[in-house]
Symmetry: C2
Subunit: 180 residues, 2 copies
């Protein structure tokens, strides 16, 4: 699969996963793609924990009353350190989002499915803190997202997006093919 | 090139670009990959403007006293709309970062180079506002990044990153191969 195929076939999978174990080698490859993403001023604010231990997966799921990915045989927890990169600017959200996107594409490339689960764990309930505690994460790191990883049982579906011409133009806002 | 090759060969190119024009078809493909990225609650907060008009490129460059990409025959300006996606959470930084990462990978796949230029235009100088004004961008959008696009004249280089074991673990923070 080339990069464009992976990008256009990726979707947020909210179905059931097959129980097949994900080889450690694949989890490591996926994490390496995340760490290969660029980061503001190369601060490398992202860290990752892959979880495939059934008892730990059960503990993590018990802490999050949200069903997406709860049948997946593995997940990757995304951690960030909120440090300044340039003057007083912090790019950690951009850093971890780029890392997540790389991992989502690698997951597709390797034949798995996933879904970016963020809002439910960074909300005012602070579920991310509970996940971090279970995995022994120090307080200077924040758990911001997890990605289930596994083979899909159901057919992945795609959301509807606005037409290209409503979101992208040439040489000026709202322009079609013409030059400004 | 498969997805993993694109991910591991991507780097932030700060060298000189060849003057060869980037076909509109390629710019459109790159923008389509950006728009194919996931967004929080599918809010699609990202919009894009590709610029290949020489006079416009000159105007944009005159507004940014920063040399990276100033020889590139095209650039893509990334716009965001800061809207809430879930409760009071706004994921627009994550949305545009995922879109940018997709585009950086597509750029590599198509044989071009680029560099994520963000901090210089979103800083307190508000250079992004000047770029947005030149391209007629309405006030509800914010210009947050541009990506030069073109063929490299120089050999791309890679930054040094921390070892895998300092940023990624299995089944617990700081764990190596063992299970927690």
């Amino acid at each position: 699969m080339n990069t464009l195929e992976a990008i256009f076939s990726r979707s947020s999978y909210r179905g059931t996963y097959l129980p097949d174990r994900v080889p450690r080698e694949d989890l490591e490859t996926i994490m390496r793609t995340g760490l290969a993403a660029p980061s503001g001023c190369n601060k490398q604010t992202v860290s990752l924990i892959a979880v495939d231990d059934p008892a730990l997966l059960h503990s993590l799921r018990s802490a999050v009353p949200y069903a997406v990915g709860d049948t997946a045989p593995a997940l990757i927890l995304v951690l960030t350190k909120r440090v300044c990169a340039y003057r007083n600017q912090c790019f950690c959200a951009q850093d971890y989002a780029a890392a997540i996107e790389n991992m989502l594409l690698a997951i597709v490339e390797l034949g798995y499915q996933s879904c970016w689960v963020e809002g439910y764990i960074t909300d005012s309930d602070h579920l991310g803190h509970k996940l971090a505690d279970i995995l022994g994460v120090p307080q200077e790191y924040e758990a911001v997202c997890y990605l289930p990883v596994g083979r899909a049982k159901d057919e992945p579906t795609h959301v509807t997006k606005k037409p290209f011409g409503e979101r992208a133009w040439f040489n000026g806002f709202g322009n079609g093919d013409g030059r400004a």
